[in-house]
Amino acid sequence: MSKRVIVDPITRIEGHLRAEVIVGDDGVVQDAFVSSTLWRGLEVIAKGRDPRNIPLMMQRICGVCTYSHYLKSTMAVEDALGIKIPYNAELVRTLMNAALFMHDHVVHFYHLHGVDWVDIVSALSADEEKASKLAFKYSDNPIGTGENELKKVKEKIAKFAKNPQGLGPFANAYWGHKTFRFTPEQNLIALSHYLKALEIQRIIAQMMAIFGGKNPHPQSLAVGGVTCVMDILNPARMGEYLVKYQTIADFVNNAYYADIVMAAEMYKTEPSVMKPMGVKNFMAHQDMMVGRNDYLFESGVIMNGDLSKVFEIDEDMITEEATHSWYKDDAPQHPYDGTTNPNYTGFVDGDTVGPDGKMISSKMINEKEKYSWIKSPRYKGEPMEVGPLACMLVGYAKGNKKTVKVVNDFLAKTGVPAAALFSTLGRTAGRMLQAKLIADNALVAFNNLIENLKVDQETCATYTIDKNREYKGRGMGDVPRGMLSHWIRIKNGVVENYQAVVPSTWNAGPMDSKGAKGPYEADLIGLKIEDLTQPIEIIRIIHSYDPCIACAVHVMDTKGKILSQYKVDPLYGGCTI
């Protein structure tokens, strides 16, 4: 008989997320549902405000991808008002973006996703000398893998491991699970990088703060450009960025890259990470300007995994629907006209697999009705995957030279066929390849900025907002989790309507009216789970998307209804005014 398994909270992500699967006697997932369980309503809050205030407010959608929404929101206002920002500002924004991407990806692989791949307890039985030599197989200049260093890492973790309570944040995880594939030596190498990455991420954050004032939530963009003119005119400041950049690029090339090559080697026979993905449609948007008309990322759409054709994005074809989301107005809507009235119908009572394997009474998703605060975005009615893998595939298929080089080198180094990219492993590799693309190429923007400053020191365009005019615009691009778009309408000098369609919404959305599933849910179906009380396979797949759920849930009514007048009964459903 089939059983239901709930994972809630899914930890090591941003936000509040629940996954539920229905598993047959053979341990294979027959159906899957993913629900976001927090709603904040930022878009209704945006309404009626001065457009210049919106970027800093929208930045608060997320403190992890802490620059993404700030940037796209600023761009949306600029697009609406018809502002062309100075070239210097474009380049500075790219330099901050480079820091964000490398930060997000390093932290994601090591601190969020890492322990789905790396068995920390197994690392304790590693031979340091062997591990130290092994590291040279994956990198010519390995980082943090000298014999003595590895010995110290082992000692440090051994102290933790002696006392199960003492494992602190590592306590009660799925150590020893049979789907872990690294040898003890490989685990030790990755563990050393986990610790090293804690320091590295702080340096990357400083890199952003040089031009951003702080991280998280930098504060140096204004509608029209950037405000950090003193910093970019200061050679010492520029030098500081450069030195940190080189440290990070070295880590990306010699630790992160090496570890993914190692993962590709060891996990390419592990079914839970090689299972073909459920949705093979990909979408990505141009971003990361490094010079005039020179972008690291390309725009395009790939359908059914066919890399021989890349379609241009038709922005009119982007919709969101709420058939299975806790909102009224089920039908698909374009973001410029989106409505989002909450209609919480809660969970239902039922029995699910408990922590000891016995059935336990829980609150379950009611999949026949509404079950998530995330809506279902569709492109031409189809679900799409967005994210670093989509970005790399689109760039590759379009023949972007820098992208093609990075991808081909990786395929050659690992011997993995291109088809294997359409998997959880591919998604994890795609993220690293994007970090490498940036580490290898973003300094082009740095050099162009220095050159340009010699002849032009403009950093911020001036503009006026005509209160008698109506404006609309959008800010679009690819951010660390994928294609992000912010859509704004301005009337009477204030925000009339605001919507953001974010990467995690594309990936984590529930079913649509036709029953078509989004990437998270579709990917879980067919997955074999070895032990229902330790569903690491589920977490591994979900984590490979780098979920950012506060990002995904943000949407709100745009038709002027005052939502606090709704009274909603959380358990029995229905929404009464």
Partner: protein, 383 residues
């Protein structure tokens, strides 16, 4: 005299805490600091800096050092409510390896969804176990506003669909000390801005216990670490302002120690981003800086280990450590006088005149006195 009695009080509290069992007998923070290659001298320099940040006399440095060394008696539970994880991120940015971060590495982080390895049932077990095992002893830090009252369902956590409000209340019940980290848990935050569609509120509104607010969006890592040290030194009740913010961190206005203060005094203002004034570091008041109305130590502590802070990056302060700043601080890039929304002080004192004073008279003392007077009028202690 006063100092010596305070010294005695803090000493005896530290002695008391030192007698508590360590969470792990194998190692101690002082040993760890040594292992990381910090000399005693460096450690004491850091303790001295912390002492001055905590607004204690320099003679208290040994006590602060001792407080840091016995931080390993502290189990910590960190809960996520309606938030963006920015405060956790700020904590993770804590230092390049520095003593601040070591302290956080070393206190026992029992529950923290962003970094813990366990998930689902196992994660819930960890929380439950920590709350049982360290009943009455754990520190609770909460990040995020709390959808409350009859709309608490806007946040549920766990297979039993428990609401965020219920989880937070349970965790508050047996905590030794409760800290609202960030402006969301301190005051409701961005989701509580008008019209507050989810009825999000401050942590202090859903518990009867004392909550110490550490606002900021996010607060700097030093304010988070300092809060912990302060708790070790004092127990749960540091000197607080009317918004329950520790005075050591939130006692001064941004404006008071701003690096561009001299420009303000001289009447040199950035008129437009990117202009000559901006290149020369003029005062940002006319492009919307809310430093004169904002109580925080950003201008002294900065962010990311002193790398920068918004005013240094040419962008005014947005007032993020003040209650309801989204609604009350007006337009980010205009002086407070020109505004669409209600302002912090409801049109009183500085609020009504700051713009004119700032731009016209340019008398620092006038604005300072006016702001202070207005704040004293409006900020009444909580009942």
């Amino acid at each position: 005299m006063e100092n010596s009695s305070l010294f005695d009080k803090l000493s005896s509290r530290l002695d008391e805490l030192s007698n508590l069992p360590k969470l792990d007998d194998e190692v101690s923070i002082s040993k760890l600091i040594e292992e990381k290659g910090f000399s005693r001298r460096e450690f004491m320099t850091w303790a001295g800096a912390m002492t001055s940040m905590l607004m204690l006399p320099a003679s208290f440095t040994p006590l602060v050092a001792q407080a840091a060394e016995i931080a390993d008696r502290l189990p910590l539970v960190w809960l996520h409510m309606a938030e963006c994880t920015g405060c956790s991120e700020s904590l993770l940015r804590s230092a390049t390896p520095s003593i601040d971060s070591l302290i956080f590495d070393y206190i026992s982080l029992e529950y923290h969804e962003t970094i813990m390895a366990a998930a689902g049932w196992q994660a819930e077990q960890n929380l439950h176990n920590a709350m049982q095992k360290y009943k009455g002893r754990y520190i609770l830090m909460v990040e995020g506003g709390i959808p409350h009252a009859e709309s608490d369902y806007f946040l549920t956590i766990g297979a039993h669909g428990k609401t965020g409000q219920e989880s937070a209340q349970e965790a508050c019940a047996d905590a030794a000390a409760i800290f609202a980290i960030g402006s969301c848990s301190s005051f409701g935050g961005v989701q509580a801005a008008y019209p507050n569609p989810t009825n999000a509120t401050a942590l202090s509104n859903i518990t009867n216990k004392t909550v110490i607010n550490v606002p900021g969006c996010p607060p700097s890592e030093s304010n988070i670490v300092g809060t912990l040290l302060h708790f070790i030194l004092y127990g749960t009740l540091p000197a607080l302002d009317v918004y329950n913010r520790p005075k050591w961190a939130y006692g001064l206005r941004i404006h008071d120690a701003c690096e561009r203060r001299g420009r303000f005094d001289a009447g040199e203002f950035v008129e437009q981003f990117g202009d000559e004034g901006a290149k020369n570091g003029y005062c940002l008041y006319k492009v919307g800086c809310k430093g004169p109305y904002t109580f925080n130590n950003c201008s002294k502590q900065k962010f990311n280990q002193g790398t920068s802070w918004p005013v240094q990056a040419g962008h005014g302060c947005m007032g993020c450590s003040e209650p309801d700043f989204w609604d009350k601080m007006g337009i980010v890039h205009e002086p407070l006088g020109d505004r669409l929304y209600h302002t912090v002080f409801g049109g009183l004192g500085a609020d009504a005149t700051a713009d004119k004073i700032g731009v016209g008279i340019l008398t620092v003392t006038a604005i300072g006195i006016a702001a202070h007077a207005a704040i004293s009028l409006v900020k009444k202690p909580k009942e």
